[in-house]
């Protein structure tokens, strides 16, 4: 190191003398390229990489109100009767949570008996959204369930019922425990990671239901509430947490078992009629859990 030595004579120093010491630097920084290359750039590259997102989907099994898994599920559809529409006073068939009949949709007996294309290609679509507001929700997934000719559409001898008795209902079941039922649409498949990391390990979805009629090309919107005034349909009646259109579904990690449950709001679980639209614990015991949907607009 270079040192600039100076002699300080006592005689030359008075009171309050100060000495300037020059701090010359005989080196200068080369650069930090090594540090930049090996640390800074590496760190920045690492930061630029997105974290791994887990896209694993698993099966969610349907459960009743007590979170006990159910092995069957029935979906009833109830439409405005053609007579009431013609009379310009549309009303739904029956008085409670019951299915309509295929005559209401314009089908004839031969459609059911012969399984015509216009019958077997008709289906319901259950669409699942992230929230119950149509202006800002996103479609997450959907399931199509095609028309069936099963126990509800046949008489005791196994023949199709008359078209005025042929129920518009869809039976779904567990593929192992109910091998004779239809299985597509019975389970929900969703991201395990999202459910596991949700508060209380519960994740919400909102379901809507449409009937796609291959006989006339119409799409019918349905809601799990019987008391719909077709002349007074407002957005606030349909949408939101208290609307009738969106049926809340809770997906849950229940002690390691993944389940989903339909959770109706107060309008959808109207106590003035029984059984309710969302009847997951039917009485007497042993009955099939049932969802009933009614046509919204004629």
């Amino acid at each position: 190191m270079f040192v600039d030595k100076r002699k300080i004579l006592l005689g030359g120093i008075g009171s309050g003398t100060t000495i300037d010491i020059s701090l010359g630097s005989n080196f200068f920084p080369v650069d930090n390229s090594e540090l930049i290359e090996n640390k800074f750039v590496k760190d920045e590259k690492e930061k630029s990489i997105n974290p791994i997102v887990d896209y694993k989907k698993i099966i969610f099994k349907p459960a009743d109100n007590n979170w006990d898994i159910i092995d069957r599920l029935k979906i009833n559809l109830n439409f405005y009767t053609p007579e009431s529409i013609a009379a310009e006073a549309p009303v739904h068939r029956g008085s409670g949570a019951e299915p309509g009949v295929y005559a209401d949709l314009g089908f004839i007996f031969d459609d059911v008996f012969c399984r015509t294309n216009r019958f077997i290609n008709s289906f319901i679509r259950v669409s699942l959204f992230d929230n119950p507001y149509s202006g800002r929700n996103q479609l997450l997934t959907f399931a199509d369930i095609y028309t069936q000719v099963g126990k509800d559409q046949e008489d005791e001898f196994g023949f199709p019922e008359g078209i005025n008795e042929s129920e518009i209902s869809f039976r779904l079941g567990d593929p192992v425990l109910q091998p004779d039922e239809i299985h597509e649409g019975f389970y929900l498949y969703w991201f395990k990671d999202l459910v596991d990391n949700s508060p209380n390990q519960e994740y919400e979805m909102y379901a809507t239901l449409q009937f796609n009629n291959a006989a006339n090309g119409k799409v019918y919107e349905l809601a799990p509430s019987r008391y719909i005034d077709p002349n007074n349909i407002t957005i606030s009646n349909l949408e939101g947490d208290d609307g009738i259109f969106y049926l809340k579904i809770i997906l849950r990690n229940h002690n390691g078992i993944y389940k989903y449950k339909f959770t109706p709001n107060t309008k959808q679980s109207d106590p003035t009629y029984t059984p309710p639209a969302v009847n997951l614990n039917p009485f007497p015991l042993g009955g099939i859990p049932t969802l009933t949907f009614w046509q919204i607009t004629p």
Binding site: L10, G16, I36, D54, Y55, I58, D71, F157, G158, I257
Partner: protein, 672 residues
């Protein structure tokens, strides 16, 4: 920032002070950093990032199919059970009404069933097949009653143990080598050679080098030098080239050498290294609560025998790291290269169904630990040689000749699906090859409590000790070792050269030479190992694994077959003739015997000893059981007696190996 200090000479502070040379330290802190003068751009390589994440991930997700081959030839009884769980009855199915459908033994419905009278549902009330118990609901992978019959687990080899494979009083066990159980002369090319049979698969190939232990050298001057010399395997198989996995031939005169069962063993030798033999133990990485995976029917999936194929998906991620974040090690201390998809039979069938209640009622007088079960506890063993001195022979369990033999675990209540550690396969490891080879796979054996203890339940019947066996462990290769062995690394040379004594320094040296923790130390600080190939890395021989990596996890698809086999399918039969007298003067017991024979599954036919005995004037034979109350009618009854390799009691159904062409066969076309 700048700071100015005044420095005063000592003289200015005190009169007595003198000036001295002072040194001042200056801190030269810098609070800013030079910035680069130009832009820096760096590329992120997606492939490199993928490879990096793939190498770092220790998470595995398993999914796939199990293709089962399952049937019920070992049914409890040929009866039809009906009623409710609290009020039930049974009806014996006549031999003539017993049918086989896709390997399942049962009966076609003999009563109208209203619920089966559906039109257009591919069922007919009178042609619906019902297997005898245990049937579909107790044996299939997909259980129609919602109670799983098997538990799936993921396991890995964690440790090893020694067993006494052949009974002996000299303390010889598997660690001492593969036991010899037979010696015989073989004539080849006009010369006599000696052949040896081993208790288990020997794992040898032609020209392999072996050491012989515990043999007798019969030459006058002990010229064989058995303790010092190794011998070559001349060929595999016996005189007729059969049993190549269990028999080998050595170029020795058979009179010069003799063996002692249980004491004489062999070991393979590779470059002067003797192979080690041991049993691996498997530890579970998944739980026993049936929550780790989903099982469901594979779409349209059936096996050749119409058994439904099931699909499964492990919801639980299997992490091959321990709680400290260290990679799990196998029984040899190496990072895991194998996992095992494990299927274990459970005993969840003692439920409240009619059938279960019926069998529980039948066995209510058994001991407490038995009467409430449907299935016996599992025992484990190997499919090895039929010799009463050989332990762990899974097919011999229940044979009174083998009563003093050993199985896994034989005394502590059996193997249970909830166990954490399971006894596994017998393997050979050679330090020269640095590879393990599986010699015998473990089998599990299970029987119904009713069959196993039939004599205690009904003293007129003998136990039916034949059970089902299956292989529980299915290998999943998650990594592979390279086909080459790394050149030996001699650290001792470096240590000696630089006189390194610090252990930390030696460890660092080991690290810098890239010696893995699992390397074998063939002498002090001299190492040898095989590289564990990275996922996606393939060596020059094609070894290596590659499977999808997605969402931070490795996805491995498994397509496994599951065979539920008979323990000892009888391959021979003899026809037994019984003479019976019916009629008013005949012993009453004969009438009962006759009725019993008609419902015995092994019943073949009956014939009249002398047709002249039939008196048509008395109505012919309208009531055969007591011959219309007339005088004696002699009848010959023929029954089949199926004979297996072991004494396991009465067999109701012949093995698939029996030539049944001599027996009458019938099919559904006879009745429907």
């Amino acid at each position: 920032m700048e700071k100015t200090n005044k420095i005063l000479l000592n003289k200015t502070k005190s009169y007595n002070s003198i000036n001295v040379n002072s040194q001042i330290q200056f801190g030269m802190d810098s609070t800013n950093k030079p910035i680069p003068l130009n832009d820096i751009s760096a590329n992120v390589n997606q492939f490199e990032q993928f490879e990096k994440e793939r190498k770092e991930s220790t998470i595995y997700r398993f999914y796939g199919n199990v293709i089962p081959i399952i049937s019920n030839p070992l049914y409890n009884d040929n009866i039809k059970i009906s009623g409710t769980p609290t009020s039930f009855s049974s009806k014996k199915i006549l031999t003539d009404d017993i049918f086989e459908k896709g390997g399942w033994i049962g009966y076609y419905n003999d009563e109208l069933d209203e619920s089966a009278l559906q039109f257009n549902d591919n069922k007919s009330a009178l042609c619906e097949f019902f297997p005898f118990d245990p049937g579909y609901d107790r044996l299939r992978m997909l259980d129609s009653d919602g109670v799983p019959n098997y538990l799936f687990k993921i396991t890995y080899p964690i440790s090893s143990k020694d067993i006494t494979l052949v009974k002996n009083s000299s303390g010889v066990s598997l660690k001492d080598g593969i036991p010899i159980i037979e010696q015989f002369p073989v004539k080849l090319n006009g010369r006599d050679y000696v052949g040896f049979k081993t208790a288990i698969n020997h794992g040898l190939s032609d020209q392999d080098e072996i050491s012989l232990f515990g043999f007798e050298d019969n030459t006058p001057n002990e010229t064989l030098v058995l303790t010092q010399k190794t011998y070559r395997v001349f060929k595999l198989g016996n005189q007729t080239n059969e049993f190549k996995f269990r028999v080998f031939i050595v170029d020795l005169n058979p009179v010069d050498i003799s063996f002692t069962i249980g004491v004489s063993t062999i070991k393979r030798v590779v470059q002067d290294k003797l192979s080690q033999y041991y049993v691996r133990e498997f530890k579970s990485l998944s739980s026993s609560d049936y929550k780790d995976y989903d099982v469901y029917p594979a779409s349209f999936g059936v096996s050749y025998y119409d058994d439904k194929i099931c699909s499964f998906n492990f919801k639980k991620d299997i992490d091959v790291k321990d709680s400290n974040g260290d990679v799990l090690l196998d029984n040899l201390g190496r990072p895991l290269s194998e996992l095992y998809f494990t299927i274990i039979k459970n005993d969840n069938d003692s439920d409240v169904t009619v059938n279960s209640q019926y069998w529980l009622k039948q066995q209510e007088n058994l001991s407490v630990n038995l009467k409430n079960r449907f299935w016996t506890p599992i025992i484990g063993g190997y499919d090895i040689e039929n010799n009463e001195n050989v332990n762990y022979n899974v097919r011999s369990f229940g044979d009174p000749t083998y009563i003093n033999n050993e199985w896994y675990p034989n005394t502590t209540g059996g193997i249970d699906e909830s166990d954490d550690i399971f006894d596994g396969d017998i393997v050979e490891y050679n330090e020269s090859e640095l590879l393990e080879r599986r010699l015998e796979l473990v089998h599990h054996r299970v029987n119904t409590i009713y069959r196993e203890h039939l004599n205690l339940i009904d003293s007129n019947k003998e136990d039916k000790k034949e059970g089902y066996i299956y292989k529980p462990f299915n290998k999943i290769q998650i990594r592979e070792f390279a086909n080459y062995i790394n050149p030996v690394v001699d650290l001792q040379y470096v240590i000696d050269k630089y006189n390194i004594t610090d252990t930390l320094e030696i460890d660092n040296l080991r690290h810098s030479y890239g010696i893995p923790n699992y390397a074998t130390e063939i002498s002090p600080n001299v190492f040898k190992w095989r590289d564990l190939l990275e996922i996606g890395e393939v060596d020059n021989s094609g070894s290596g694994v590659d499977y999808p990596f997605e969402s931070g996890a490795h996805y491995i698809n498994l397509d496994k077959r599951f065979y539920l086999q008979r323990q000892d399918p009888p391959c021979e039969f003899i026809i037994i003739g019984e003479e019976i007298q019916l009629g008013i003067a005949a012993p009453m017991i004969d009438e009962q015997r006759f009725m019993s024979y008609l419902t015995d599954p092994t019943f073949l036919n009956y014939s009249f000893e002398d047709p002249e005995d039939i008196v048509f004037a008395n109505g012919g034979v309208t009531n055969l059981t007591n011959y219309n109350g007339q005088d004696t009618l002699n009848i010959d009854v023929n029954l089949a007696d199926f004979i297996g390799s072991y004494e396991l009691g009465k067999r109701d159904v012949a093995g698939g190996c029996v030539d049944l062409s001599l027996l009458k066969q019938k099919d559904i076309g006879d009745v429907c």
